[in-house]
Structures are given as C-alpha cells and as structure tokens.
Subunit: 426 residues, 2 copies
C-alpha cells in the first residue's frame, strides 16, 4: 500500500465515522463539566476508552504529590473528586515514536443563560457550526483525537508505538490535571493537544498568573461616608494601577521574537468582582480576581513580585489603603509561557499531514492564551504540538466550532499519528 | 404631686429598672434580624408587649396593599414571612394626646466577622458601651421606649391617651414596615422614633434612592480582550459618571435652609458589586447596587429620571455601552426627604423633657440618613420626632451605643410620654 492509498483509506475512514463523531462530540459537550463538576465527563471518557480496548488508568488527584512541581497553581476548592483519565494503547510490535494525545474536559462557566441563543449545554448544529460551552474549547478536539485513532483501526491499521490518550481537568484554572499525568510518570516522544487553533501550529504561547486583590475597608453608615473607605472604589483604584503594569509588560513584549508582532499580547483581566453587603453601608470589603499574561522565558516568581510591588506602591499613595494595606492572593494559574523548540521531527510530520489535508502550508501562531503543552515541554522536555479546529467565542456566549474544520482536524490528526507512530496492518 | 416630684418618681423608676432594660436590650440585639430574618425579633417583641398587657396586632405584610402608597419601595426578596407588630395601650379615660412610639428591628448585614472585636450578635458591654449589630441602630432605642412606658407604671401612673407601640421591619431598605402601619390605619397626634441621634432632635432628613446598575457585556476569552467589553470596567465608568451627578446635587443642596450648613450632605454609595464568573473570561455582566440621597422637597420621580439620564448620557459616550445600553433597576428605597414642621406642640414637650434630663437646651440636627418618620409626617400628616441615644459605627464594625446615653434617653422618653399623653394615678 503506497502512502497516498493509505492516506485515502484513513481519511475515508474519518469521513465514514464523522456523523458518529459529531454525535459523541455533542454528548460530551452536553455535560456541564465546569470546575469541580468534571466527574461525569471523565466517566464518559473512561467508558469511551474502555470499550475501545485501551488500558484505562483513572485516578484521583492528590495535590500533595504535585504542589512542589514546576507550574503548580494553588487549588482553593474541594478537590476530593478531581480525577485524571488516561487510556493507553500498547503496540504488539514497538517500532515507532510514542505519543501523548491530550484534551481537557473542564469548561469555563456559561455566564447568564439568557445571553445564549441556544442553551450552552444543549449542543446544537446550525449553519455548519456546533454551538455549546466547551464545543470549541475543547471537547470537540478531544473527541476528534479519539475518532482519529478509531479511523486507523477502521482502515485496517494499528499503530506501532505506545499512545497515551489523556483526558484532564483544570486546564482552565491551574493546569493541575496535566501536571498529574507528568507526576504519574506518563512520558512519550511527542505530545499533541488539539485545542482549537484554526489549523495553525502554536509556536509560542503566553503564561498566566491568577491573583486576587483583597481590600478590607472600614464600613460605616453612608451618612458619614467621608469617614469610611469604600472598598469597592479602593479596589478599582488598584486595578487601574495594575493597568499601568500591564502596559509596562506590553512594552517589554516588544523584544520577544514571536510576540513582538502581536498587538498587546499581555492582557490584564479583572474577571470576577465581589464586594459589599448593603447598598446603604460603605462597603467594607472587595475582592477582585484577576488574570494577567507573561511571555515565555519570564520568571513567574519575579512577575509575582512585580504585581505585589505594584499593589503596594499604589496602596502607599492612597490615604485609606496606606493604613489598611490590601493583600494579593495567588488564586490559580502560576504558569510559565512556552515556546515550542526542539520539535523539528514532529513538526515535519504535522506539516506533511497538514499539507495532505488542507493543500497548503502549515501556518504558525503566537498564542495569547495558554494551553497544557507547557507541562509536557517544560517539565518533561516532550515537544508539544497544539493544533486544531476553528472555533469562535471561546469563553463567550454562543461558543462554537466549525463542523468542517473538525472533519479536517480529525483527518490531520489521524495522518499525523499514522506517520509519527507508524502503522501496520491489523 | 407636683411636676418635679412626678418627674423624680418617673426617672427613679427608669433607673430602678435599668439593669433589666439593658438585659432585654442585649437579648433583643442578640437576634440576627437582618433583612428577611426578622421573625424571631418580632416574636420577642410580640411577647414583650403581650405580657405587659398591650393589645397586640401582629400581621403579615401584603405588598399589594402598599405598592400604590406614597413612599413605597420595591421588594425583591421572599416577603412571605414579613410581619409588623403593634401593641396598643388604650386609656381608661381618654384625655390627652395620642402617641405612636416606633422602632425598627431589622439590622444591616454584619459584614466579615473577623473585622469585629466582639461577635456582632453577642452583645457585649465594655467601657460603658454596648457593642453589637443593631445595638445602636436601633434595638436599644426600641427597648428604651418600652421601658419608658414601664417606668410610668412603676411610678404608679398610667397614660390618659392612646399609645401604639410599633415594631417594624424594612427600615434599612424600603420603609415598607412603617408604611404598613399607615395602611393598616394606625394614627396618632404625634409619632416618636428613638433612633440614635445623640440627644438631638432631627429637624430635617435626607431621602434615599436605591438603584442597581446592570451592565451586560460580551464575554470573550481574555486572549482576545480587545474584542470584548469588560462589564466590570464599564460599570466602574458608570459609577464615575454618577459621581458627577452627586456633585451637582450637592451644589443644589447649598440652597436648602437646613442642609446648606452640612458638608456634602448628598452621598452616593456604590455599596454592593458583583460581576463576572471566571478570572480568564472577560466579564459579561456586572451589577452595582447604589444608594444616593435627596433632600426634603425634591421629587423622587424627577431624581430617578436624572439618574437614568446620567447613565444614558455616559453610556452614549462609551464605545461598548453605546451598543449595549446598561439598565437601571429600582432596588429598594424610593424615599423622600422629610422636614419636621407643624410640630411645635410636641417639640415643646420634648424640649421640656430634654431640659429636665440633660440640663441644657435641645439641639437640632440636619440628618444625612433617613428614618421612618417621613411616612408618618408625609403620608398622614403626623408630626414625627426622632430623638435618641449616642451611638457610633452604625452599619460598621463594632457598632455601639453608649450605655449612660441610653439611660438618659429612656428618662427623656418617659417624661415626654407623661407630659404628652398625660398621666393619672393607677
């Protein structure tokens, strides 16, 4: 069987199963697997892997095992149900290069339901797009990888290298799920994460720091408002000070070889605010959960220190905060940026697969969001590719993924695996 | 019995019972009667009135009966348990001037407990002050009025006019409790509310409008922050616009005959803020609950319209808000200011009582908070006096009332009742 024949058999197999793939994608996306509620999603993935004959490793994550590892971010909620699921394929004859295929099943909150055109957890196909929370980021990618492996089997082929299919949690908040696979000992010659990248290869990605500003004021009756400090207004003042730091960091980004061409790659986001108990009481407290990006090579510890220094300096200039210093809590991501290097071999394989499916050269991307690739790359020196379908409004209302782009992604993953791991007839 | 003898017997009776009064005050203040949880407080007051022989009227409030009355403010929470308790004393011989004695038993939230030196609902006497949420505002005042009536009885006297002792809720949010007593038909020749005023008579008080700014943004992944609108930041921008309106209203206040001497009588308070669901999602929504004051004679409807116009005008200048107009909800108080007029007769009686107890002339106050007096004065033309003890940190941490000021307040109320209603030997 020549290469072109084999490619055709594989991509035909993808097409043959594509309706079933979309059905599975919808079922997977229908599970509201927000933080802390990923259990049923992991159960579904456990079953999908088990019935396909993978050796399933399904374990509860113990943060004590992880907290001293590179890239760990603190967990604040009940983590007793947190699990990782890995399905392993072991070849009869091990001749190729081993692979980790990874996807995260956690999704960000849907936000106010009335702002969705269709319910976020009722995945709906409309005008060639699949709508739903997580449909893009990234349940469709995980299922695409699963069906890519199925397609090889349907084409009468089996890989000749070990494959770990990993379903993780916490990608949206700490990355502790991916970190747990490293700690558990999973390794391979390459990692591939099908996040939605619009068929581009992520060359470099930002890191992220999450932190919480905590302001504690002196509440008084509003009739003596001058005597109290309004914690909400003090918190707003601190966010403005941090926006100056954001601009300073963007100026530094101009010297990054990949991000210099990206407009404003460092975004500060005050994402959650809660403050005060009563409209007629000057608010005594205000918490603001923020996210800010860093670039590859930037030290997390040094940038944490800059955040604290910025808050402290601003507080010193504020009559109330000077007397009642705000605090900074680390509330999730403490994640470095990651630049894909030393991956020439796997990149070449992806480039070929891409060319075969899309008929044009693979483009690259400097990504202003993070992905789990950093753990494989930085902690275990496993080159980690991130490549996937076309999605829009990730984290927004009416999140969606383009159905045809999913078909192509699935073909490309299948061809990549066949080439990277090698295949032989069943 | 001459006046001085009678006064002495009454004030002695207050002193004799003062330890018991403080005990009752502590018990009453120990009940965490925040909004919606006033039931047990009303039960206690029901019992206190019943054992003393008052005719108790204890009813559930039906907002349908009230919503078209002057000064009604909208209720957003479950109101099915909301009650008013009125104990009525009817004289054997009706010769004097009837009286409403009123206090509210609702208290504002305690806020973060760790900012209190003693637990807010464990009333504690320390260095001559009683500490606790509601100890000042205004449970100690209500119990003072109850014990003032007890003192007349202990002095062998009974009033010769009808007295309605009213325990109400919602003073801190809408005033609907006081309004319910008007709707129920309770009337008298004078109303007296022992809020903590540091032994001053409230001559004029502000009104209050509560409103909620609702901003709905377009949430997107923070990696494309420029494409989304941060609802938290948009809400902050609207608060800043409203601060300009606050200053405009303060300029107008310079022509008010009572408030012209008060520095910054109109306070805008952004008191509660809630926005966003996820640190790494550009927040899609933000609600800010605000309070602003108005002066006596200012139309509520006109000032509501000014608030809406201010928000609309600011939104039009804001790239995102212009496309996604914020809304203003009326979330509680829609309350006019109140100036005490036409009360010369009752004022003269209070002046005499004050002089007898304090040995100096009664001072007056332009009050930058509101009280329930407005309903009696504006809706039913009942002159309404507000006078009481010395309290600090109302709505704040370590709220407290000075114990000796309570004793004097109780004496003054007892002398006022004896003079206003008239008394005769039991």
């Amino acid at each position: 069987m020549n290469t072109a024949d084999m490619q055709r058999r594989i991509t035909d197999a993808v097409d043959d199963a594509f309706d079933r793939q979309m059905e599975t994608t919808k079922q997977f996306s229908a599970i509201p697997s927000t933080r802390g509620a990923e259990g049923p999603c992991q159960d579904m993935m456990h079953d999908l892997l088990r019935v396909r004959g993978y050796e399933v490793d399904d374990w509860h994550i113990n943060t004590d095992d992880l907290k001293d590892l590179r890239g760990y971010g603190p967990i604040e909620h009940d983590f007793s149900h947190a699990r990782t699921v890995v399905g392993t394929y072991r070849p009869t004859r091990d001749a190729g290069r081993s692979l980790i295929l990874q996807g995260h099943c956690d999704v960000v909150p849907a936000g106010p339901l009335d702002m969705w055109d269709t319910p976020p957890f009722t995945p709906t196909i409309k005008d060639g797009w699949l709508y739903g929370r997580g449909a893009g980021d990234m349940k469709s990618g995980t299922i695409a990888a699963l069906y890519a492996l199925d397609a090889l089997h349907a084409a009468g082929l089996k890989p000749t290298a070990r494959i770990h299919f990993q379903s993780v949690i916490e990608e949206e908040s700490t990355g502790v799920g991916a970190l747990s696979t490293i700690q558990r000992g999973y390794r391979a010659d390459c990692c591939f994460i099908p996040e939605p990248t619009d068929a581009k290869l992520v060359r470099s990605q930002v890191g992220v720091i999450w932190f919480r500003l905590k302001v504690r004021g002196k509440p008084v009756h509003v009739f003596e408002a001058g005597a109290g400090a309004n914690a909400i207004k003090a918190a707003t003042y601190l966010v403005e000070a941090l926006e100056e730091l954001e601009e300073e960091w963007n100026r530094r980004a101009a010297s990054d070889r990949h991000f210099k061409s990206v407009k404003h790659p460092i975004n500060l986001n005050p994402g959650i605010i809660k403050g005060g108990d009563w409209a007629s009481s000057v608010p005594a407290w205000c918490d603001v959960d923020c996210r800010i990006a860093v670039l590859p090579g930037w030290s997390i510890a040094e940038h944490q220190a800059e955040i604290v220094a910025c808050v402290d300096a601003a507080a010193k200039k504020h009559p109330f905060l000077a007397q009642n210093p705000p605090t900074v809590e680390w509330s999730g991501f403490l994640s470095e940026g990651y630049e894909l290097t030393g991956a020439e071999e796997s990149e070449a394989v992806l480039r070929k697969a891409h060319e075969a499916v899309y008929g044009n050269p693979l483009k690259e991307l400097a990504f202003t969001a993070l992905t789990d690739t950093r753990f494989y790359g930085l902690n275990s020196n496993i080159p980690s590719l991130c490549f996937g379908a076309k999605a829009e409004a990730m984290h927004g209302f009416n999140e969606r993924v383009e159905v045809e782009s999913l078909r192509k992604t699935t073909r490309a993953i299948a061809l990549f695996v066949a080439d990277w791991c090698g295949v032989e007839p069943i």
